[in-house]
């Protein structure tokens, strides 16, 4: 795909630990088109957040990313920190999982927002602060002008996440990386945050990579979904196809574990037996094989390739053949 905004190929993320090298993300490839919202779904420890950190150059000091991530034609993974600083906070921004700790407690909220504009766009502090207030207003912070002079501890969790969104979008980035931005918030606030994010991204034409374990959020927001397990893509499909006709056993299992309003109250929630794999050496076969109910002998021996089974629909399972 040549019209991709972001094109990731063979992305691996490994961590050096005292017990040896652990692979969190294993030779992953995906694309994000301009204006598209891509959801990356997976359980805890599936490596989904590390994908975003590797793109932003924010991996922990013992982490290492290899492969290629072309963003607007430039390989993010080959850049030095200084080169990355011309991309992150400029054309690519990120919002984080925990809004309570992700803002600097010692600086006024407005100044934290304005900082990016001063550094990257050469605005004066006065002009940048005015821009910041306008953006805070857009994420529906009431009384934005006086709120901008306050400190993060004077904001609620939901407000802080709106501040984070304002801070990320203030520089008008082409790509927004969102790392479980609603996980730490309660459900009604989650819904507001998603609305604001969706609305702004649409208005500003920003692409989003949205990492979450919440399928409800994905259904509301995303155009396309990647289901991740053990650092590998299990299935990739347009959102409506994935929700209506998932093919991979893990994707099916994941959807079955989601409670549905329409289901009878007596129906017990399905679970996927076993526990998510955590680190350790990569298995030779499919990472989901040990927990998969329909596994065959080949599953534990050979890694199934990611194959196309329909338009924009790919999956990695031995049981599913190539599209005719």
């Amino acid at each position: 795909m040549t019209d991709s905004l972001l094109s990731v190929r063979d992305l691996s993320v490994t961590f050096r630990l005292p017990e040896g090298e652990v692979t969190a993300v294993d030779r992953l490839g995906f694309d994000v088109a301009p204006g598209e919202v891509l959801g990356i779904v997976g359980e805890s420890g599936s490596g989904k957040s590390q994908i975003l950190f590797s793109l932003m150059g924010l991996l922990a000091p013992n982490g290492r990313a290899s492969g290629q991530a072309l963003f607007a034609g430039q390989d993010l993974l080959a850049m030095t920190d200084t080169e990355l600083d011309r991309v992150r906070g400029v054309s690519m921004a990120m919002i984080f999982q925990d809004p309570m700790t992700s803002l600097n407690p010692y600086k006024r909220v407005g100044d934290q927002l304005a900082e990016g504009l001063v550094v990257h766009k050469g605005l004066s502090w006065r002009a940048a602060r005015a821009e910041a207030v306008r953006m805070l207003d857009r994420v529906r912070i009431p009384d934005a002008a006086s709120r901008a002079r306050r400190y993060p501890h004077e904001f609620s969790g939901g407000m802080r996440q709106r501040v984070m969104i304002a801070m990320a979008l203030l520089v008008n980035p082409r790509l927004l990386l969102a790392d479980e931005p609603t996980t730490a918030l309660d459900v009604t606030i989650q819904s507001q945050i998603i609305d604001i994010l969706a609305e702004l991204a649409r208005d500003m034409g920003t692409s989003i990579v949205f990492v979450t374990h919440d399928l409800g959020v994905v259904a509301r927001l995303c155009d396309r979904v990647i289901v991740l397990y053990g650092g590998r893509i299990m299935e990739e499909a347009p959102a409506d196809i994935l929700f209506n006709a998932p093919r991979h056993p893990y994707a099916k299992g994941l959807l079955d574990t989601t409670p549905r309003i329409a289901a009878p109250l007596t129906r017990r929630l399905d679970i996927i037996p076993g526990t998510p794999r955590s680190g350790g050496a990569m298995l030779p076969g499919c990472p989901f094989a040990p927990r998969c109910a329909s596994r065959i002998a080949a599953c534990e021996a050979v890694q199934p390739p990611l194959i196309g089974i329909g338009p924009a629909h790919r999956t990695a399972c031995h049981l599913i053949g190539e599209a005719p």
Partner: protein, 306 residues
């Protein structure tokens, strides 16, 4: 911020009052007195002497008289040094202790914080390891070992600085200041390093890095405040202790500061001098703690909004 300031000052005054009262009564409760030493004195002379120092009055009256004096910087006459008042003794020694102490505090803070931050940013580098080693040595080797060694090397062998005394301008200052600063450099650099490393792992520092504002700004504008706060909290009491003089340093370098009175006065049961020293130390300690609190409040909005 104003409310925070007023509250801290009021706290300080209360603490001062409590310190003054407690010290006064505890001193009087302790058995023995300045004139109950080896020699037997006739009851008449004893009564006269006690009357001269107002020791024959009721305790509460003595206390009120004392408090009135302290408010006018009058701590009464010394029992031991008959020709001097306590205020004289303190004012004579204080300039020496203050000069050495303030320089030592400044040197310790600047050097300690700088080494700590460099060590944290270049973790596991040669610089980090060498400051780490020096810090451990600085904390582990007592000053009464280090100071004479410095005298032997820099004063006797190299003849750069005088061995002691106060007659050689700034040269007289160097060795005692360095000796007094050294353990604090060691401690402050460790404290700063660990605090900086911890702060660099904070989520908000990651947010700052994600903004692409450059490593320099991330450190200066975001990480530094958080890293420096524990150091500021430590500096309050530490500076108070440093500037009120060290008996070890003042003895080794033959300096006429007030440090030695801390011990002498108690041994001599020189009530007014003990009281004077205690109140002076308490005052300095409380002042610097309030100073540190104000600094923390200025740096951290959560402290001043509390």
């Amino acid at each position: 911020m104003l409310l925070f300031l007023i509250r801290r000052l009021a706290d300080g005054l209360l603490t001062m009052a409590a310190l003054l009262t407690l010290t006064f009564f505890v001193m009087r409760l302790a058995p023995g007195g300045p004139f109950s030493s080896n020699r037997k004195i006739s009851p008449t002379i004893r009564a006269n002497v006690e009357a001269a120092y107002n020791l024959d009055q009721p305790l509460v009256a003595q206390y009120l008289r004392y408090v009135r004096g302290v408010l006018q910087f009058d701590f009464g006459p010394s029992f031991r040094y008959r020709d001097y008042t306590v205020a004289d003794i303190l004012l004579n020694g204080l300039p020496f202790s203050l000069t050495i102490g303030l320089w030592a505090a400044l040197v310790a803070t600047v050097t300690g914080v700088t080494l700590g931050i460099l060590g944290a940013l270049k973790r596991n580098s040669l610089l980090d390891y060498s400051t780490g080693t020096i810090a451990v040595i600085g904390i582990a080797i007592p000053i009464f070992v280090l100071a004479p060694l410095m005298q032997v090397y820099f004063a006797v062998m190299l003849r750069w600085f005088p061995v002691g005394g106060w007659n050689d301008g700034w040269r007289s200052l160097v060795l005692p200041v360095v000796a007094l600063a050294l353990p604090n450099i060691a401690y402050i650099s460790r404290l700063t390093r660990n605090s900086m490393i911890e702060t660099m792992r904070e989520n908000y520092v990651r947010t700052a890095r994600a903004k692409g504002i450059g490593r320099g700004r991330v450190i200066r504008d975001h990480a530094l405040t958080g890293a420096i706060l524990p150091v500021v909290a430590y500096l309050g009491p530490a500076t108070a202790a440093i500037i009120t003089g060290s008996i070890v340093i003042e003895t080794i370098f033959a300096l006429p500061g007030i440090g030695r009175h801390f011990v002498d006065a108690a041994l001599n049961r020189d009530y007014p001098l003990v009281m004077g020293i205690t109140i002076l130390y308490g005052f300095v300690l409380i002042t610097f703690n309030i100073g540190a609190d104000i600094l923390r409040g200025w740096l951290d909005p959560r402290v001043r909004h509390d």
